[in-house]
């Protein structure tokens, strides 16, 4: 961001907190950017001629006589096809000493799409993972997070989904990404030869936390450019949104706001919704799909961050290690894709909805049987069969290392039904049973 001629330079700060500075200045616009002592800052509050600025990289070492220059405009990102294949920091500046890109500057965090101009999402995103494709089918224009404990391989699964999903562009928004994970993403994308489809905006753990607040808006501004103007299918990966929310709470705390649940700001729902709702299917083919990661602490989904996220996103995917098979699975009970109804049985085979429900129901029977077993009760013959079914179901379908087509998943499910259960126990509509029940 260059300074322009005839800009007023202020040199008298009247207040400094850990994240904000305030000074007297005139003619300042809300949300405009400024340079404070060589650091980027944004106007967050104006009262008369008293202006409060949020300094993204923290206020350590800023003196009261620091130079403050206002830019007169909100944060922007230069957009053009040159974005593809590049890595940027949270301010949208190229990393690794790359040259600046040419392009049209766009305000980040722009207005939302008129709901009437959206199209109902209807295109399936195949990932080859049955825990997703069979039970929780993803659709373009959807927004869905992985709910995972920090020790689970969510970044690996997300990278896998991204590469299999056949998107025109993949935009990675990394917030508080560890350097190791950042290099992991970089390597995976490079090895897959997909680098030219990928754009990354990254704030690593080595960088100041408040900078993270810019990352999702940067990533989504780039996404909107490709989805609206180039009519491309864009997949946005946001990891980790919990760290983003933590940064929000830091700022609101420094601004003396009254915290609501779990010391999060009262506006957490709106703040998260503004990001996730950028997911959209446009009528002319372009789309933005958001897959995010929300890390949980000890699997607690009642914490304000996963809770608010769950109300905004169109479902959630839970990862869990299945103790019976030792494999990481997508938990069929707690995961949900709300948009699956738009494609299952329509874009996939007619038996998909009922097979999906029956399998999950039988898997639940197995879970009950397991509880019984743990409590030291005898199992019925049905319980025994349910348990065997559950083991096979988990290994052959739920495990994330399985990579097959949806039809194969359905056939496998029918085979498992026939192997362990009678037709009445499976309780699927008769006409489907007659058509798909394996002959022997």
């Amino acid at each position: 961001m260059e300074t322009k001629a005839f800009q007023r330079i202020y040199t008298q700060l009247t207040g400094i907190t850990k994240a904000t500075v305030s000074l007297r200045a005139q003619g300042v616009a809300n949300e405009e950017l400024a340079m404070v002592h060589g650091r980027l800052a944004q106007v967050v509050k104006i009262m008369g001629d008293m202006v409060t600025l949020q300094v993204f990289s923290g206020t350590e070492g800023i003196p009261t006589n620091a130079e403050v220059v206002f830019f007169g405009e909100p944060p922007k990102l230069k957009v053009s096809d040159d974005l593809a294949g590049r890595f940027f920091d949270a301010y949208g500046r190229p990393m690794f000493g790359d040259s600046e890109i040419e392009g049209e500057p766009r305000e980040i965090g722009g207005p939302s799409v008129n709901p009437l101009r959206r199209k109902q999402p209807s295109e399936l995103i195949a990932t080859g993972i049955a825990g997703i494709d069979l039970n929780n089918t993803l659709v373009t224009g959807q927004k869905i997070p992985f709910f995972a404990d920090p020790d689970q391989p969510f970044n690996q699964v997300m990278a896998m989904v991204a590469l299999r999903a056949q998107a025109d562009k993949i935009i990675l928004g990394g917030m508080g990404l560890s350097n190791d994970d950042f290099l992991f993403f970089k390597n995976v994308f490079e090895n897959a030869g997909a680098l030219d489809r990928i754009i990354s905006f990254v704030n690593t753990t080595e960088q100041p936390p408040v900078e993270r607040l810019l990352v999702p808006d940067m990533a989504l501004t780039a996404a909107e450019y490709f989805a609206v103007e180039k009519k491309e299918k864009v997949l946005v990966l946001l990891t980790d949104m919990t760290l983003y929310a933590d940064a929000l709470s830091i700022v609101s705390n420094r601004m003396d706001q009254i915290p609501s649940k779990d010391s999060m700001p009262g506006s957490l729902y709106s703040d998260l919704a503004k990001i996730y709702e950028k997911a959209v299917q446009f009528p002319d083919g372009g789309s933005i799909t958001i897959i995010a990661v929300t890390t949980l602490s000890g699997g607690d989904i009642t914490h304000a961050i996963p809770d608010n996220t769950g109300y905004i996103t169109e479902g959630q995917l839970f990862l869990r290690t299945d103790s019976d098979t030792g494999k990481v699975i997508v938990d069929p009970f707690r995961s949900l894709s709300r948009l699956k109804q738009l494609v299952i049985g329509k874009k996939t085979r007619e038996d998909h909805p009922q097979v999906m429900n029956a399998a999950v129901r039988l898997y639940a029977d197995a879970a009950n049987a397991k509880t019984k077993l743990e409590n030291g009760f005898d199992l019925t013959e049905y319980d025994e069969r349910a348990l065997k079914f559950a083991r096979d179901y988990s290994e052959k379908l739920l495990a994330i290392d399985v990579n097959v087509e949806v039809d194969t998943m359905l056939n496998t499910a029918w085979q498992l039904f026939a192997k362990y259960f009678s037709k009445t126990e499976v309780a699927i509509k008769n006409e489907l049973v007659e058509k798909y029940w394996p002959a022997n």
Binding site: K45, P74, S112, P259, E314, K372, T424, K429
Partner: protein
């Protein structure tokens, strides 16, 4: 002379304005940001400073920007053409907005002022009229849209003249009224009304005495909602709140449906936009969209307008009620509205109540629910607004302020249970935790017994009892083990499961099962209760579960078949055969 002001402070969408004249609480003003007008509402005044909440983003706003106050509160425009429209929370027509993105200050008219309507007068000159009396009517879709004496008219009036039948625009004068002082008032086909005030131009609001059929068995059969009643659906995310609301919107026996999408997902609204124009109303055969109006403030739209959106929806509902229609108002979700109140209260630095919500939350919610109701209009006709809101309790905890406040205000409580949702028992309404206070009203009991069957209410109570006893038996089985309890416990548990699978669970995505008319609900409940009254013989508990599963399967196939079709009776015969196998005579 309108009061003017200029901006002196900005904190997110709370703006402080120094004014040069009188301002009223809740008065609307426009902030003129370089030619773009941003709508805002006064929420606090201290001396010369008015605190306004802006219904738009305040990015780029500067100190000194001029503001013009309008001298009225937030109003909606009421007149022919509201049906089938898609509005934002402030009643701007979304279809008329330009471009893909919502631009600040793109405020479009709620009505089409150019189109003409076929007006038929209903009164003669010389007739005495008061507010809300019908002067004439125009056909709007299939509704006879009444043109009424404006609700703001407080006097008694005499019709001086009324135009003859013909085509008129909404802004044309159709009648001239003379008040008691002899002054003349021109009446057009549209009027304005402040959304936060209830429209009370009716004769009487009795206790509700009829039920509103929804086609959802767990509601109609077990916990029916009254026409003009109130209900709410709290539940953690992923429990099917929205699917349930959409089912109600599709099937409920109402003349008009207003959906207030309040701070929820845009794709859910898009689903309605996409599907409703094609889906048939099961009662009239017309398209669902013809009876639906959508007020849409999705979660990414400006927060302040979210609060306004539910009021806008309610006011439109009250307007159509005054025409003698049955209106069903659905709001998803009222928690988002409460959160919008919280954000503002926070910025105003008010002392917070529980969970940082404003102290008057409970009163605000109760006040809103009280606007629903069944009414006798001045001309003896009846109309109703039935309101069902969803609540999204934080962390699925029903002990949070919004749920608790709503529980005090609403008469029906449909608790969605995480446990039921996890085991895919949809709709996940918990039959025991939920209640309908209307079931205790003698007038409702009488209505049900008269209109469904003689012993209906006692049959329903009995079925609830069986579910309760089944649940107790299940707990015992879990504690003591399958063979640690008498066989009788298993029998009791499985009888409750029949009710669960056949009556409570319903497939919202199946063409037939999604909507069950009352006569079919009666048939199935009576069938199921007969089975529950039958004694069966078993040698052991293993036999019990496999036998009952067969019964459930046969009954479920009946649910999936066209009512009283050949297929239906075939499954019923199959069921009889199964029952005869083990029936103890």
């Amino acid at each position: 002379m309108k009061t003017q002001g200029k901006v002196t402070g900005i904190i997110s969408n709370l703006v402080v304005v120094e004014v040069d004249g009188p301002v009223a609480q809740n008065e609307i003003c426009y902030i003129n940001l370089a030619g773009t007008k941003l709508m805002a509402e006064v929420i606090k005044v201290i001396g010369k400073l008015a605190y306004v909440q802006v219904f738009e983003s305040t990015r780029g706003l500067r100190v000194g920007t001029p503001v013009e106050f309008q001298g009225h509160m937030l109003e909606v425009t009421l007149g022919p053409g509201l049906l089938s429209k898609n509005y934002d929370g402030l009643q701007h027509d979304l279809a008329k907005m330009k471009g893909i993105f919502l631009q600040r200050g793109d405020y479009t008219d709620a009505l089409d002022f150019d189109s003409e309507w076929d007006f038929t007068p209903l009164v003669e000159p010389g007739t005495q009229v008061v507010a809300a009396d019908w002067l004439g009517e125009v056909p709007e879709n299939w509704v006879k849209h009444k043109i009424m004496v404006p609700f703001t008219f407080t006097d008694k009036y005499t019709v001086k003249s009324i135009v003859p039948a013909g085509k008129y625009k909404v802004s044309d004068t159709i009648a001239v009224l003379v008040d008691s002082k002899g002054e003349e008032h021109k009446v057009t086909m549209y009027q304005k009304w402040p959304v936060k005030k209830a429209i009370t131009a009716y004769k009487e609001k009795p206790r509700p005495f009829k039920i509103l059929e929804t086609g959802v068995r767990v509601i109609d059969t077990l916990n029916p909602i009254a026409e003009g009643g109130t209900g709410f659906i709290p539940g953690p995310f992923g429990c099917g709140k929205t699917v349930l609301q959409h089912a109600l919107a599709k099937q409920a026996n109402a003349d008009m449906i207003i959906m207030a999408a309040c701070g929820e997902r845009a794709n859910e609204v898009v689903e309605i936009f996409t599907e409703f124009p094609h889906l048939d109303d099961p009662r009239t055969g017309r398209k669902l969209m013809e009876r639906t109006t959508i007020i849409c403030n999705t979660s990414n739209m400006p927060v302040a307008a979210r609060e306004a959106s539910v009021y806008t929806a309610m006011t439109i509902g009250e307007y159509y009620r005054s025409m003698g229609l049955k209106v069903l108002l659905l709001a998803d979700s009222t928690s988002r509205w409460a959160q919008a109140l919280r954000e503002m209260s926070n910025r105003l630095e008010e002392l917070p109540g529980p969970d940082a919500f404003p102290m008057d939350l409970s009163a605000v919610i109760a006040n809103f629910y009280a606007r629903a109701g069944f009414v006798y209009l001045n001309n003896g006709n009846t109309g109703s607004v039935t309101f069902i809101g969803t609540v999204s309790p934080a962390g699925g905890n029903l002990k949070e302020p919004v749920t608790e406040s709503t529980k005090k205000a609403a008469r029906c409580f449909y608790a969605l249970s995480q446990q039921r949702a996890d085991s895919k028992r949809y709709p996940a309404i918990d039959p025991m935790d939920s209640y309908s206070k209307y079931l205790e009203y003698p007038e409702i009991q009488e209505y049900l017994n008269k209109n469904i069957s003689e012993k209906w209410v006692s049959l329903v109570m009995k079925s609830k009892n069986i579910i309760q006893r089944g649940r107790e038996a299940y707990e015992q089985i879990n504690i003591l083990g399958d063979d640690g309890v008498p066989l009788d416990y298993h029998d009791r548990y499985w009888k409750a499961e029949i009710i669960d699978f056949v009556v409570l669970q319903q497939d919202a995505f199946d063409k037939i099962d999604c909507n069950t008319p009352l006569n079919r609900q009666r048939y199935m409940l009576e069938k199921v209760m007969q089975i529950c009254d039958t004694n069966f013989h078993f040698d052991g508990f293993e036999q019990c579960s496999s036998y009952y599963k067969r019964i459930i399967n046969a009954l479920k196939q009946m649910n999936y078949s066209e009512f009283q079709s050949e297929e239906f009776y075939n499954y019923e015969k199959e069921l009889e055969t199964i029952l005869n196998e083990r029936r103890v005579q």
